[in-house]
Amino acid sequence: MFIPHTDSDREAMLHTVGVESLDELFQDVPTAQRFPDLDLPPALTEMEVVSELADLAEANESVRDLTCFLGAGAYYHYIPAAVDQILRRSEFYTAYTPYQPEISQGTLQAIFDYQSLITALTGMEVSNASHYDGATAAAEAVSMAFAHFRGKRCKVVISPALNPQYRQVIRTYHDGTEVQIVGDKIDKDLKDGLQPLLEHIDQQTALVIVQYPDFFGRIYDFTALAEAVHKAGALLAVSVNPLSLGLLTPPGEFGADIVTGEGQSLGLPLSYGGPYLGIFATRQEYVRKMAGRLVGETLDNRGQRAYVLTLTAREQHIRREKATSNICSNQGVMALASTVYMSLLGKNGLRQVAELCYQKAHYAAQRLAEIPGFSLWTETPFFNEFVVHCPKPISDLNEELLDYGIIGGYDLSQDYPELQNCMLVAVTEMISREDIDLLAETLTEVCNE
């Protein structure tokens, strides 16, 4: 609730700072800037405002009206109606865990369930209550590895096939620290797989980060990489699309020390880029170096099940400058949405969604590869996204596709100059066989004009 200052509040404050009036307080602001003319149109009635806002909203191009093959980290999936219904319960209406957390047992239980589901999905031992998004979760993995080695190992090896935005955020977080980021300078063929990464790993390496499936949709078996990383005494972080884990081997089973990920695919709408959900899970032995909140289950003084914030001494609000990270909040509403989504689908449902995405994407890859002038960029197995080499620049193709009501794939040349004419195509369960056929036919048509 917002309580405005009363006149006497203001007077008391002015008196305290030693000025007579508000004008005197603001005298350093040039008069012309103090109360500028805002040139606003006349006030509208509520009915007029609703109508105007509706017009503005309708001007947006939405994935509901168009057929979307764009992914690259954010995906259009079906969200069961119950997700939104539960999110709208007023008891959950706060983005944060409360400051007297144990008073809100429902919120803590939801977070505990979220953590339990994430550990089951990733094959890890502990999960925190979440971070902002996939990019910040990946940056926290770097902070954690740095803290784990107490600054004695400063090198972080990043796969060039890690989402380019995540790589940017990692650099932003660690700019000006001793962390040295290597591995994603693209001087090797991007099709070489893991070999170039292995060459960077040494005794100075704190962390190696890979993506699974990678930014190009490819699936690699990271078992040998994990062995090499551990042999050098370093940690392995794997950034996942959690939905793919309905189908793929969880990273915990091939030796990941940290699993991060973008949780948007678990029941969150695209919403033009956020708010999303940062997944962060690790092994028990690293729990004290993990950032963020952590909810535990215990018994109260009557022997009843109760939830508490636990291991809080790890956190920034207690440990302050000694903490791993300055993050001690979480993405509560989004974590709740993903918890409801995962609970509704269950293990079999998640597998079904993942299989649908996989199969439809493979049908799409086959159809696109048949078009004269089009070819698949690599033979490596993929999940729901793949790279197709096209005969024209992707920005031109996408403009033409939009005329047919199709949002084309991601233009990879934006981030990888050597991938000219390469489109990253994403297919989810929302795409029908007819949609894929329409994409193939439209591309055939616009390339034969």
Binding site: R288, A313, R314, I318, K322
Partner: protein, 129 residues
């Protein structure tokens, strides 16, 4: 609360017991009382490492707070109490005995003169209240 007369102290609540060239280090009874129940001890130096006075040698966590333990006098680490991280509650029950953290071979005994004796440390604690 006890302040043994045979130890030297830092203003930061560490103690050191000097035996020839070997110094044994831990935190004081007063410190454990202030921290309350200790739930986690991590010794952050390794045997053979040369550590300067004032550098962090261990991290403690209680149910309410986190604290670093700093080395009272420079030296080479010759022993680590490996059992302590398994039984962090010893810091509360036996701060001057079983809860020793590391032993160092002192490299600059003159630094010991800058430390507090039991009387001076007791006076310092009294000032906090």
């Amino acid at each position: 609360m006890t302040v043994p007369a045979n130890l030297k102290f830092t203003a930061n609540d560490e103690w050191i017991k000097v035996d020839g060239k070997i110094g044994t280090i831990g935190i004081t009874d007063y410190a454990q009382e202030q921290l309350s129940d200790i739930v986690f001890v991590e010794i952050v130096v390794a045997e053979g490492e040369v550590v300067n006075k004032g550098e962090s040698i261990a991290t403690l966590e209680s149910v309410k707070a986190a604290a670093d333990v700093y080395l009272p006098a420079s030296g080479k680490v010759v022993a680590i109490n490996d059992a302590l991280p398994e039984t962090p509650e010893k810091v509360n029950s036996d701060p001057y005995g079983e809860a020793w953290m590391i032993k160092v071979e002192l490299t600059n005994v003159a630094e010991l003169d800058e430390l507090l004796d039991a009387a001076a440390y007791e006076a310092k604690i009294a000032e906090n209240h």
